[in-house]
């Protein structure tokens, strides 16, 4: 099983790249769906500007993960840097899965089948990303082989 994962890791990382690039395009709709512009208009200017700056940088971070993953050979070269980067990306997405289930209160979030479907898709993507980058980390550490 571990060997099978190792052999297919380049493809799995490439799919992760595509998933993250789709995510960053789709996430451009989140402010409109959740009404962030109207909601953040109630904030003081500094807090509002910090909110949007944070949002932009999280978006850019996700973009960077997607772009670097378009080159699976770079991320799977077995170097300490590759292990460090894949380890960090896996921790990032594992944390995101935990936040989705244990922190976010969705009681006042929009409802309906489309939103529900989007949320299921989003969580499935987070789980996939967490799993693939964890496997990539183990590969770079020599724990699983091709």
């Amino acid at each position: 099983m571990a060997s099978l994962i190792g052999q297919n890791l380049p493809t799995l990382v490439l799919l992760a790249a595509i998933g993250q690039l789709v995510l960053i395009v789709a996430s451009l709709a989140i402010p409109r769906v959740l009404g962030w512009r109207a909601e953040t208009a109630k904030l003081r200017p500094l807090t509002r500007q910090v909110f949007w700056t944070y949002a932009a940088y999280i978006w850019a971070t996700n973009l960077s993960f997607g772009l670097v993953s378009l080159h699976p050979a770079w991320l799977l070269d077995g170097s300490p840097l590759a292990a460090g980067v894949t380890g960090f990306i896996s921790a990032y997405w594992i944390g995101r899965v935990g936040i989705q289930f244990f922190y976010f209160d969705r009681s006042d979030a929009p409802s309906g089948p489309a939103v529900r479907l989007a949320e299921v898709g989003l969580v499935a993507l987070f789980v996939y990303l967490a799993a693939v980058y964890s496997a990539a980390t183990l590969f770079n550490l020599g724990r699983i082989g091709p």
């Binding site: 959740l34 962030w36 909601e39 953040t40 109630k42 904030l43 003081r44 200017p45 500094l46 807090t47 500007q49 910090v50 909110f51 700056t53 944070y54 949002a55 932009a56 940088y57 999280i58 850019a60 971070t61 960077s64 772009l67 670097v68 080159h71 770079w74 991320l75 070269d77 170097s79 300490p80 840097l81 590759a82 460090g84 980067v85 960090f88 921790a91 990032y92 944390g95 936040i99 922190y103 976010f104 209160d105 969705r106 009681s107 006042d108 979030a109």
Partner: protein
């Protein structure tokens, strides 16, 4: 790539930790939680998660600079990609500080403003030097 750049990466690690800890300080100084009390819970939670994630990214980058300085300057495609992206990332942060944040707010918080510009400018310079140096190897 001169080995002395390792020294600059170690300083960059300290800068990253400084910026990360400034976020904690900013919470109290600028009363973010009080200001967020008037918005829906989900917006408040998104703000806090974004803040926590950016702090985690800063700590991750500090570890990268502290322990992988040699690799970041190796000239391999991965190193050039990482340092090149981080140069753009922090360079754009300088542009945001100068062009996006309200001038009156920057004036009122001049010390923070100058420190952020210096910190982000330093990180931009170090990552850009590593990326450019890596491309020449």
């Amino acid at each position: 790539m001169p080995s002395s750049i390792t020294f600059f990466f170690h300083i960059a690690a300290a800068v990253h930790l400084g910026v990360a800890s400034a976020n904690l300080f900013a919470f109290r100084k600028f009363h973010y939680l009080e200001h967020l009390a008037g918005v829906p819970l989900i917006v408040r939670q998104v703000f806090l998660v974004q803040n926590a994630y950016l702090m985690a990214v800063q700590v991750g980058l500090a570890l990268l600079c502290a322990f992988f300085a040699g690799e970041l300057t190796s000239g391999r495609p991965m190193s050039v990609a990482v340092t090149g992206f981080l140069a753009v990332f922090w360079g754009s942060r300088v542009v945001l500080q100068l062009g996006y944040y309200d001038p009156s707010l920057r004036q009122a918080n001049r010390l923070f403003d100058v420190l952020f510009i210096l910190a982000d400018g330093y990180l931009t310079a170090v990552y850009a030097a590593a990326a450019i140096g890596g491309l020449r190897l």
